[in-house]
């Protein structure tokens, strides 16, 4: 049952940082190949940059095959309402180099659409489905975009910035009136919220 | 006491006595398990409260005619079995029916359950019934084989005579002492017959949501509980009569019941449940050859 368990050596962070540098260099080189620029080392084991929507797939494919980014950590989506754009952030992790690449992609907010990467990373299907459900971004090539979490939801995609959850809740759900009169509470004369609220506070 | 007025009193009172014993046994079993699990556990007569609660439910959700009748078959079949099993002071019916009859009427209750559950049309229930029938092929074969051994040895199939034969020389003539192979094999079978772990594949809450009980509520579940409690007593008594020399007085009877049940519950508390196929494999690998060896031993000694 005991596999290859490695003991932690104390100077490992420095070594990992060194590895990250080399991986980061590779990422920057690939980015240059894929005609995207601006990839830079953001911190220890973090590389970040912007990619065009059109070249994301080829860039991701190169990341996977040439540098060995085997693990898709997550796909995040940010709604920049003022700019009229969605920002998709792909987080890739390399088990070999211990390095995380965050690729930022901006797409238009109206009829938002993006190429899928499920052919490269299978777990992407959940993240894409989730973003489709919460933001309304369509992923071309992903066959499994039906509703998952919000099957009973009829409203707009709720994570968009123009949807205000507080207003929706106030419109759709009833709240109890709870306005206790503190005098009654102290003297023990409190008999339920509605009866008290009528006479005291209003 | 096996004739006249006493007999009538017995026939009327016996179901209640059985139920009362079953309540005590069931409560004791739950308390015992709780103590192994480092808990306080429920009241000693918790099953009684449960049954009262279930029988006082207001709604009856019936799934059809068969669903109602099956509950009668369930309890009726078990009561019928109960009458044929001799206990101290009451063995009137055992002169009319030997173990073969007991085996036969014992199947009425599972059949009733199967019919009733079939009508509820819940897949969990159907799987539970399928599993119950599958398990029959495991423990029933073993148990019948051990019984055949006992019958061959004593030359009778009457449970009362078997019991008397074992009572002849005190503990030394108990079948579990004279034929330990048969006794132990039957003990395995008893564990499955009582549907306790590791052979508790029929109810299996995490797998099939309590199987046959899935659609049962209120009085239906109450009937199943009553049947279960009486069945506890009946099954333990059958084993006791076959291998522990039965009992001549109620004191001995109750002591033996509780000791035997403690054994069953101890195993129940520290084991998980088998998969259905491995339970069957287990039965055919260990207890069945054991029982067969025991029977062969008896045949050789008989020659």
């Amino acid at each position: 049952m005991s596999g290859q368990s490695k003991t932690m050596d104390t100077d490992r962070p420095a070594a990992a940082l060194g590895a990250a540098r080399s991986a980061a260099d590779l990422v920057v080189a690939i980015a240059a190949d894929a005609n995207v620029a601006g990839f830079s080392v953001k911190g220890p084991r973090r590389v970040e940059g912007r990619v065009d929507a059109a070249s994301l797939h080829s860039f991701a494919s190169a990341l996977r095959t040439r540098v060995g980014f085997e693990h898709l950590s997550a796909i995040s989506c940010v709604d920049w309402l003022a700019d009229g754009q969605f920002e998709l952030v792909y987080h890739f992790w390399s088990y070999r180099d211990n390095c995380l690449v965050s690729a930022h992609v901006r797409i238009a907010r109206d009829s938002a659409s993006m190429e899928t990467i499920t052919d490269l990373w299978q777990p992407a299907s959940f993240f894409e489905r989730d973003i489709h459900e919460m933001f309304g971004v369509t992923f071309q090539g992903n066959t499994d975009l039906e509703k998952y979490i919000l099957t009973d939801w009829a409203g707009p995609p709720p994570m968009r910035k123009d949807f205000v959850s507080r207003d929706f809740a106030h419109d759709h759900f009833e709240f109890k009136d709870y306005e206790p009169s503190w005098d009654d509470l102290v003297t023990g004369g409190y008999h339920g919220s509605r009866g008290v609220a009528e006479g005291s506070n209003e | 006491m096996n004739s006249g007025l006493g007999l009538i009193v017995w026939i009327i009172a016996y179901p209640f006595v059985s139920f009362f014993l079953g309540v005590l046994l069931g409560g004791y079993g739950r308390k015992f398990t709780a103590r192994i699990q480092r808990r306080v556990g429920p009241s000693w007569i918790q099953p009684f409260y449960d049954v009262i609660k279930l029988m006082s439910k207001k709604t009856n959700v019936s799934h059809g005619y068969m669903h109602d009748v099956a509950m009668m078959m369930l309890v009726g079949g078990t009561l019928l079995t109960m009458y044929f099993v001799p206990v101290p002071g009451f063995h009137y019916f055992s002169q009319f029916g030997d173990y073969i009859v007991i085996m036969y009427v014992m199947l009425v209750a599972p059949l009733g359950m199967a019919l009733g559950v079939g009508q509820t049309a819940n897949p969990n229930g159907s799987i539970g019934i399928a599993r119950a029938l599958e398990m029959l092929a495991g423990y029933e074969v073993t148990f019948v084989l051990t019984f055949i051994g006992m019958a061959m040895k004593n030359g009778t199939t009457s449970m009362y005579d078997l019991m008397l034969a074992q009572q002849a020389g005190g503990m030394a003539t108990w079948a579990i002492v004279t034929d330990p192979l048969l006794g132990i094999a039957a003990l395995f079978a008893l564990q499955g017959m009582m549907n306790e772990k590791p052979f508790e594949v029929i109810v299996a809450p995490h797998e099939i949501a309590t199987g046959p009980m899935t659609e049962m509520g209120g009085k239906y579940l109450g009937m199943m509980f009553i049947q279960h409690l009486i069945n506890l007593v009946v099954e333990l008594t059958i084993y006791m009569n076959l291998f522990l020399g039965g009992a001549l007085n109620w004191f001995e009877y109750v002591i033996k019941l509780f000791v035997l049940f403690t054994l069953v519950m101890s195993v129940n508390a520290v084991y998980g449940r088998f998969r259905t196929d491995s339970a069957l494999r287990f039965y055919w690998k260990l207890p069945l050859p054991m029982a067969a060896l025991g029977v062969i031993g008896i045949m050789i000694r008989g020659i």
Partner: protein, 195 residues
Amino acid sequence: MADTELTQRGAWNKVIANLKKRSLWMLHYCTGCGAVELPPTMTSRFDMERFGIMPMVTPRQADILLITGYLSVKTLKRVILIYEQMVAPKYVVGFGSCTINGGMYWNSYSTIKSLDQYLPVELFLAGCMPRPEAIVTGFNALIDRIDRGEANSWEDYYKNYDFYHKNQLHAFGEIETHHDIKSDGRYFGIAEAQR
């Protein structure tokens, strides 16, 4: 409220209520995060079984429907189906602040705010989340109510089904229920008792 046959208390009913209160089975359904405090309550340390309270698997077998915390609209739909499958008398226990007034999810678009709009609630346990001691205290309060014959909230569902049904429709639209609540209510003789 008209005293129905069910709520009249004779000596026999008192005895039965006294026995009934010792056996309560709750539905083993984790509707929300409060369910994480149920395993400690069931297991050795707090040992709910001393009061005869046991988790049960299917709605048909259960007496208590414990709503363990917030209810998303999607779960509410299932909970109502489950509640209607349960066998009366049945008790709904709202567990945690979120069943009372939304709790910290007061502005969530996905959870309902007030459980008693949709189901008749017997008892609320406040707290986020209630500790096992609070759960035990709550169950003891329920046991006392059953003993006194006051735990009749389930009748309210039959009496005021229009109210509950209207709110249910508002929350998630039409659902296919398998029980005719109105005729059940007539069977109990309490359907037209009110209004």
